[in-house]
């Protein structure tokens, strides 16, 4: 089966093509096309994994283009790492496909939604299967594009359109680094193939400065994609997309691509201690700052978004402290429990009629049993409670920060682990315990995409009576018809089954790397790679990490369940800090002031130069020519002479500069 691994991305691609052409006739049934395709992909992925466990890396490539002396190939490769990734991606994608059938049920463009999901799954799987870094880059851009489409899916919300653009353009900054890094590597080694690059690094064919430079440039790509500080600002905004999209793209798969990239280029990073330090500190800083912001957010999805950034920081921290397996192990477990939490949040949001503010929730425990229990499992897993998946992988990251990092990194990791447990249980208690607060008042914090959506659709419909799809959309019962006044209920099997599947994985996924079984995942992932020994923690570390998680949960319990400490206790104690966190450290404002405005200003500057400065200069110098130009001048605002003169002056300046710089006079 391993030779047929190419089938894995092809199924979703076929689904995409089918939906692209006949999706509008299928409407709701479009979901079955997507689900079937992903089910097939998942089955093939499982078969491939089993074959890879007993076998060897399989590579198939064909020649693509010849650039000068070098031939670039395209194809696919099944290594230990990507065999694991295939399972993660196809499984999460499959459950998200199933979940969306109910979640997107009322949306008139559900077939478009499924076609984008198919395209995304294809691209993500293509990225994972790529045998060289150029092919990875191509799919890397493609997943970015799909993310753009899906974040902006409810484009009639201005925030969604803006968030889509922000997500795409912010990650592009990282992509500049990635492309530059891989072209320099290509220039040095004559190949994009991972194997050739590893060999060149090991044999010392690239000098140390260049290794550090390329590693850092490639890491910049990972920083953008995996939303690491300082490029993390796009991910919270990307929550404007539909929740299943957040679960699939912005929690489990695409945002993990940056971590995966560092993983596949690991020999390059290992060869540069500078790069490793930068990676470790970027991860630690990101983990810490994102966790602090998660403490105060009130939008259920934003808390999870900051939590994702923070957890990705953990993975990067692990990779930066030589914890190759720890980072990738956490990538896998996190994919399961974070997808679970997002889908759980989606289930809640769906049940409370598309409100996302946790201040309007509460008391859902008795009303939504399956969602509540599975969400609790996810929260326990991410907090790192024994024996759930998160416990095992987080413990390894702590071990790696302690053994290969320094005290600072370890301390940050511990504090972050504490905050993680706290904000997750703040979220849990606020959402599921206490009284339901969303019942009978018109909610001031309502953030209902569909109400906006239908509002916009109504306008469009009035303006544009031809458009049938808009017309139908206007008849879809908006949130009002479900009834703000009805209390929330558990959702149907399409939504609960994925939760159950993911919850079971959040419980058992840690088993694949159990210490008592000799770390099977570690053996699998490191086989054939020269990565040195992997760090493992002692028993006291496990106990310490449990204590940290326990105290975080206890504090949340005291504040948000028991009420022993007032909810605004800390906000009152340190209002400045609270405000700073609520405003996300004012990073958006700072970026606008430092980057966006100057860019536009530079554009204006050149534009003004084209228009007026040149005019002024010419008026000054060119008075003498005005008599000849007068007849034209009046009709054409003198611009014609200006342009002519500028061309001539430009020519003279270029000539003069060239002569001075190149010394043709001497």
């Amino acid at each position: 089966m391993i030779q047929n691994a190419w089938l894995i991305p092809v199924f979703p691609l076929i689904a995409f093509l089918i939906l692209l052409f006949i999706g509008r006739f299928l409407k709701e049934k479009a979901s079955y096309v997507g689900i079937a395709a992903l089910a097939l992909s998942f089955i093939v992925s499982v078969l491939v994994l089993f074959e890879r466990i007993g076998g060897e890396t399989y590579t198939f490539v064909i020649e693509w283009i010849t650039f000068g002396e070098s031939t670039i190939t395209m194809g696919y490769e099944v290594t230990a790492l990507n065999a694991m990734m295939l399972i993660v991606v196809t499984l999460v994608s499959l459950v998200v496909h199933i979940f969306s059938r109910e979640y997107m049920h009322d949306d008139n463009r559900i077939h478009v939604f499924y076609s984008y999901l198919g395209l995304f799954s294809f691209s993500m799987l293509g990225l994972v299967l790529a045998p060289n870094v150029l092919q990875l880059f191509i799919f890397w851009e493609l997943v970015g594009l799909c993310s753009f489409l899906l974040v902006g899916f409810w484009y009639f919300k201005p925030e969604a359109a803006a968030a889509a653009k922000k997500a795409f353009l912010t990650t592009r900054i990282g992509d500049v680094g990635l492309l530059l890094g891989l072209v320099i590597l290509f220039n040095q080694t004559g190949s994009f193939d991972y194997g050739v690059i590893y060999a060149a690094v090991e044999n010392g064919l690239i000098n140390d400065t260049l290794i550090t430079a390329t590693a850092l440039l490639i890491f910049l790509g990972a920083v953008g994609k995996s939303a690491q500080f300082p490029l993390h600002v796009w991910l919270p905004d990307a929550m404007e997309g539909p929740t299943p999209v957040s679960a699939l793209i912005h929690a489990a798969t695409m945002v993990a691509a940056g971590v995966y990239l560092v993983g596949v280029m690991y020999p390059l990073f290992l060869a540069s201690s500078t790069a490793m330090t930068v990676v470790a500190y970027t991860g630690a800083i990101t983990a810490f700052f994102a966790a602090t912001m998660a403490l105060v957010m009130t939008d259920i999805k934003r808390v999870l978004a900051y939590s994702t950034i923070s957890q990705l920081g953990f993975m990067i921290l692990a990779l930066g402290t030589a914890g190759y397996v720890a980072g990738l192990f956490h990538l896998m477990t996190h994919a399961f429990f974070k997808a679970l939490l997002f889908l759980g949040a989606g289930s809640v949001i769906f049940a409370v009629h598309h409100r996302q503010d946790i201040r309007d929730m509460g008391g859902l425990w008795s009303k939504m049993k399956i969602t509540s229990v599975t969400f609790l499992i996810g929260a326990l897993a991410i907090a790192g409670v024994f024996p759930l998946a998160g416990f095992w992988s987080k413990e390894e990251i702590l071990a790696s920060a302690l053994l290969n990092g320094d005290g600072f990194l370890f301390a940050i990791a511990l504090i972050t682990a504490f905050m993680t447990a706290f904000y997750m249980f703040r979220l849990f208690f606020k959402t599921f315990t206490g009284e339901y607060r969303g019942g009978d008042h018109d909610d001031p914090h309502a953030d209902d995409p569909r109400v906006d959506a239908y509002g916009a659709a109504d306008v469009a419909e009035a303006d544009n009576p031809r458009d049938e799809s808009m017309d139908k959309e206007a008849h879809v019962p908006p949130a009002e018809d479900h009834g703000h006044h009805h209390s929330p209920e558990e959702n149907s099997g399409f939504m609960t089954l994925p939760l159950i599947v993911l919850a079971s994985l959040a419980v058992v996924a840690g088993l694949v790397n159990l210490p008592f079984m000799g770390y099977p995942l570690e053996g699998f992932l490191t086989e054939g790679l020269n990565l040195g020994s992997q760090p493992h923690g002692a028993l006291w570390l496990a106990i310490l990490s449990l204590a940290v998680a326990g105290s975080g949960i206890a504090l949340a319990w005291a504040m948000y369940y028991k009420g022993a400490i007032a909810e605004d206790f800390f906000a009152k104690k340190a209002p400045g800090v609270h405000n700073l966190l609520l405003n996300k450290y004012y990073l958006d404002e700072i970026y606008t002031a430092v980057f966006v405005r100057p860019t536009v200003a530079i554009g204006r500057f050149f534009w003004e130069m084209d228009k007026s400065i040149v005019d002024g200069m010419v008026n000054l110098i060119g008075r003498s020519t005005s008599s000849t130009g007068r007849s034209f001048g009046r009709r054409h605002n003198g611009q014609l002479q200006t342009y002519g003169l500028v061309s001539i002056l430009g020519g003279i300046v270029v000539i003069a500069l060239a002569f001075v710089l190149r010394g043709y006079f001497g």
């Binding site: 880059f137 492309l179 306008v459 860019t599 554009g603 534009w607 020519g651």
Partner: protein, 486 residues
Amino acid sequence: MTAFDANWSLMTPEIVLAALALLVFTIDFMTGIHGKKPFIGRLSVLSLLVTAVLVVVTNSTSGSIAEVFVVDPFAMVFKLIILIGVAMVILISMNFLDRERNAEVYQGEYYSIMLFAALGAMIMVSSADLITLFIGLEILSISSYVLAGFKKYSRPSTEAAIKYVVLGGTASAFILYGMSFLYGLTGSTSLLEIGQAIPMLFEEYTFVVMMSFLFMLAGFGFKISIVPFHMWAPDVYEGAPTPVTAFLSVVSKLAGFGIILRVFFLGFGGVYQEWAFIIAVIAAITMIAGNFIALTQTNVKRLMAYSGIAQAGYLLVPVATVVGDVGINMIVFYSVAYLMMTLGAFAVITLVTEDTGTSDLSSFAGLYQRAPYLAIAMTVFLVSLAGLPLTAGFIGKAYIFFGAVAGEMLWLAIIMIVTSVISFFYYFGFIKQMFMTDPRPNDKELAVPGSMQTVVTVSLAVTVILGILPGLVLDIFNTFNWMAFF
């Protein structure tokens, strides 16, 4: 007499095209002035395609007429680019000219002048002699001036034409002045002879040789609109009829690159090291200014003018970084990509701006709902211009980028990639209008005429196919000995 012994069959395509252009012209005034005459448009497209076939048939073996008019892979590929480009421009124009409001436009003249412009461009890329080259250039230029002012009752169009004539004349003067230095030094107008003499002359007359080079650079720079010789482009592009804008920004510009390569590589190739850096600096300034100014534009045609300036900057990068055939590979590949993505975009722009009667960016509002196919195709053209993978534009840019890194001009490569990221912002402006804005109240579903559909589909197919399988043409280019006509 060598002239009579020469292999005149090499010039078959040019002779045939000249005859067909005259035929189109004659048929036009035999059939009266007014009314719709789509058959003339079709005849013109047919003429260009026939010529293109003749180019492939007669120009596939290299040769020359007294080393003045030369035929080599370089000439052949550029002629095909020009012919296909003009054919697509005419397909875009047919719809434009058929409209009621443009009834005063004399179609026959329009088409025959287009054909003459193509003829001029063909002669230009086939010359290895300064005189022939200049004649080709002027045939192309004068035709372009007339085309720019074709809406003669429209003030912006007339104004554009006058600006273009005066500034184009200035540029031609620059070129001639530069050429005269070369002639003075070598006593020859043959690029081959000049090329042989240059390295030695450079030792002795550094000043004059560089003066000549820089004057020509200024003149050619005007034709391909690079900074600081770009100022005419936004005004002329905005005023000229939209299909003519397409012609200027694609055919005229690429033909200009053709002669830049011919003159600089053949004539000044011996002193490459002396001028490569100047070109690199100009390429950098062009990419920066073009992309940044484009950010501030809201008029579609002006925006495309600045985008075209930036694209000329990208095309200039390999001139500065890669010597010889590999550099020409890059430029020709990107030229093909540029031809397709830009003409495709202009087809959509023509249709949309003509339909809405404004060339403001908001004319694209809700295009996805009005004409989904056009909106999707336009998106592909734009992301290709911006350089996203799976499009010809990405491969072309990546190839040029590799060349710049390999040529040890890392700073230029970085400027190229950073400015191309900036270009995403303004290309996304279109995408946002098309997909994320509702159509304006009176905009109905947009009917796409057959000729437009053809242009959009061909451009879309080539942009995507070359993005996925660039080997289809790159493998052929790799076998070419581009300028081996002797």
